[in-house]
């Protein structure tokens, strides 16, 4: 479905194919992209509930942002909800109480996500691996309590009744359909932006750092600066996801900053396939869809099922859905051409 890079902890999803294989991969990737986009464009007309689709797209953006960090940089942040949530609150308050227009609300969300990301990143980036995960988790909890207690966040009630307003003062967003296409457009832009980041000179360095950090240091890269930038980019995009979600649903609440959401986004990425482009999107749709579908049917078992998926993914399925697909196709391609080397 797309070009991948392997993730640090997981086994490699794919090796670089030879030139004609690559053509073939590109061609099938293009087909897959077109189909995916077509489905998204057609979604509201084929009976998919637009509010659900918008919510899922927001989470897809969130998961993509997270994947930029975990999948492409090798940093596991266990507090990503904080950035999404803080931005959601910021946008909610600015749009509702300060009367900002939606586009500025979104920009402010990006700034808030990135800004808090910078602060947290400066502290967390000093440690690696599980330490990094635990520190981000703890810092995020701090954001959570600030959101719980700050005077403008509405405490347990959250910020409610955030109007969607008019985009650029022109497009009224109250209509679900026009809102949907705005969300879709933003999603596509973010997706392309992430692809560009990954396939940029900067992305190359990130990849190198993830593959072998001491080596990257010895080549003269100040790796912490690169990681910090990745962290900030990721949190800024997470902020965008939060802001957008606030506009779509009309509220920002504590669920948006709660650590369980941080866990969910890890799962989305892991399930879809970290270090792949489409993985987080598929993961987000799967998890949000599953939650929606199961919530009324099985009650508390949703948590059990989600936990079960986590366990299965970690034990048996570390490449995720997209990663497995790619690996499977890789194996088929390998079967037909002789492997290089030696």
């Amino acid at each position: 479905m797309n070009v991948t890079t392997a993730s640090k902890p997981a086994a490699p999803a794919a090796a670089a194919p030879a030139a004609d294989d690559r053509q073939q991969v590109l061609r099938s990737a293009r087909v897959a992209w077109t189909v995916g986009l077509a489905i998204l464009v057609a979604a509201p007309f084929i009976g998919l509930y637009p509010v659900f689709m918008m919510k899922a797209l927001c989470f897809a953006i969130f998961a993509c942002a997270f994947n930029l960090l975990l999948g492409f940089t090798g940093l596991l942040s266990f507090g990503h909800a904080a950035f999404m949530g803080a931005a959601a609150y910021a946008t909610g308050w600015l749009v509702r109480s300060a009367g900002w227009s939606p586009e500025f609300g979104l920009l402010a969300g990006v700034a808030v996500g990135g800004g808090i990301g910078l602060l947290v990143g400066l502290i967390a980036i000093r440690r690696e691996g599980i330490y990094f995960a635990m520190i981000t988790l703890a810092m995020a909890q701090m954001v959570y309590f600030v959101c719980l207690q700050a005077p403008f966040t509405g405490g347990e009630d959250g910020l409610q009744g955030v109007p969607r307003g008019r985009l650029f003062g022109l497009v009224p967003l109250d209509d679900d359909l026009s809102m949907y296409f705005v969300v879709l457009a933003i999603f596509v832009l973010v997706f392309l932006a992430i692809m560009r980041i990954v396939h940029s000179p900067y992305g190359q360095v990130l990849k190198a750092i993830r593959e072998n950090e001491p080596r990257a240091v010895s080549l003269g890269y100040h790796v912490n600066r690169y990681k910090l930038l990745a962290f900030v980019l990721s949190t800024a995009i997470a902020g965008l996801a939060g802001s957008l979600k606030t506009l779509v649903l009309g509220f920002a609440t504590l669920s948006d900053v709660h650590w369980s959401l941080s866990g969910e986004v890890v799962l989305m990425t892991l399930l879809g396939g970290m270090g792949t482009f489409a993985g987080p999107v598929i993961g987000a749709f799967t998890i949000i869809g599953l939650q929606n579908f199961l919530a009324d049917r099985v009650g508390s078992w949703v948590t059990v099922i989600i936990g079960g998926i986590f366990v299965v993914c970690v034990l048996a399925f570390r490449r995720g859905i997209v990663g497995e697909l790619l690996a499977w196709r890789q194996r088929r391609l390998k079967g037909s051409t002789t492997p290089g080397g030696h």
Binding site: V51, G155, E156, D157, Q160, G250, T253
Partner: protein
């Protein structure tokens, strides 16, 4: 004309959390009882099926609002009942108004639903913070409790209840010394209570509910707070008394909108309820029943499930059922009926299980609720 050829009633309430005893699945059962009674057991009204949907909002406003929106958009729900928790009701009220559907809040306490946040599609059925404050607040101040400190649940309900009670206390010549907020569903109240204790106030006003009230009362006993301060439970349900026991609660004053052991009619209905649930109904569960019954009667009368028509019909009909006598829906959406100031019996006075209250005072409809002068609701001007 019935939309989608079914009359769909949805209830979104706390089905698993600290308020689930007060409403929860038993509340859903009360609604089913109302459907059965309104349709003569057939489940069909004017040839259309009546359906009941329910969902758990987990005390989260966002979950409640999303579910409500989804139900209106995709399920064609015609009338939404909001269960416990003010935060969720305020959120659902906004969605319902946007979708122009009828929303009846039963379990939520906040008077804001029919005051500064009122809207034409919201009806508030059982009780509210103003009524609680007027009932219990006045009684306590009259009994000599002049200086107050509040232990307040940190969300829409707690703040509103504290605020409304403060107004009453001040109006009656009392003073407010301070307050401390605790999170909804707090696990340990000890440090909040120590804060309260050092305030030296006479009265500790509990502006919380359900499990939180139960636990704060217990912890207050454990830490000996009850020796220096008197507790005033501002919102106490019969389920709370049941789990705390009469020994701990005897003599306490509380205000409620309904009591199962009030008269023959309430007793008869409650026994039916008890058969199914093995618990006596709370006032909210009775309210669930009443609201559903009145709604379905109005649908039958108008032959339509259009919110505007049904609501107009409901507003012009007096409400006389097991829950309320001579009740009516005011322009701000408040269902006006009598409230009761009750005192908890001593263990000796109680003659049977669930026989817990003496009615100390019936607060008449006119006196119980927000007055026109106080109201900021534009619909009632």
């Amino acid at each position: 004309q019935v939309s989608g050829d079914v009359i769909k009633i949805g209830i979104i309430t706390d089905m698993s959390g600290l308020y689930s005893d007060i409403d929860g699945s038993a509340g859903v059962e009360a609604i089913r009882m109302a459907v059965a009674d309104a349709t003569g057991g057939s489940g069909m009204l004017a040839g259309k099926k009546v359906e009941v949907l329910f969902a758990d909002h987990q005390n989260k406003a966002d979950v409640a609002a999303s579910k409500a929106r989804e139900w209106f958009d995709t399920q064609g729900v015609d009338m939404l009942i909001g269960g416990t928790n003010s935060g969720t009701s305020l959120a659902m009220a906004k969605v319902a108004a946007e979708k122009k559907k009828l929303f009846i809040s039963i379990g939520a306490a906040t008077a804001a639903l029919t005051n500064d946040q009122c809207n034409p599609y919201t009806v508030h059925w059982a009780y509210d913070t103003v009524a609680l404050a007027k009932g219990t607040g006045n009684a306590v101040v009259k009994g000599g409790g002049k200086s107050w400190y509040f232990l307040t649940a940190d969300y829409a309900f707690g703040a509103q209840l504290q605020n409304d009670t403060s107004n009453i206390v001040k109006a009656a010549g009392g003073t407010i010394v301070g307050s401390v907020k605790h999170p909804l569903s707090a696990s340990d109240f000890s440090s909040f209570l120590l804060q309260a204790q050092s305030s030296k106030a006479q009265i500790l006003g509990l502006a919380n509910a359900g499990g939180d009230t139960i636990n704060s009362i217990k912890a207050a006993n454990e830490f000996g707070i009850t020796k220096t301060m008197k507790l005033a439970g501002l919102l106490v349900f019969i389920n709370d008394i049941h789990s705390l026991g009469l020994k701990t609660t005897q003599g306490m004053y509380l205000t409620d909108s309904w009591y199962w052991n009030r008269d023959a009619e309430t007793r008869a209905w409650s026994r039916k309820f008890f058969e199914k649930i093995k618990r006596m109904p709370s006032s909210i569960q009775a309210g669930d029943y009443s609201a559903t019954l009145q709604y379905l009667n109005a649908v039958k009368a108008t032959g339509s499930d259009d919110a505007d028509k049904v609501l107009a019909q409901m507003k012009k009909t007096k409400i006389n059922d097991v829950f309320a006598k001579g009740g009516f829906i005011r322009d701000d959406g408040r269902m006006v009926h009598d409230m009761y100031l009750m005192q908890v019996k001593t263990p000796a006075e109680s003659t049977e299980p669930w026989d817990y209250y003496k009615v100390a005072e019936v607060i008449k409809g006119e006196a119980a609720w927000t007055t026109k002068a106080e109201s900021k609701c534009p619909l009632w001007k």
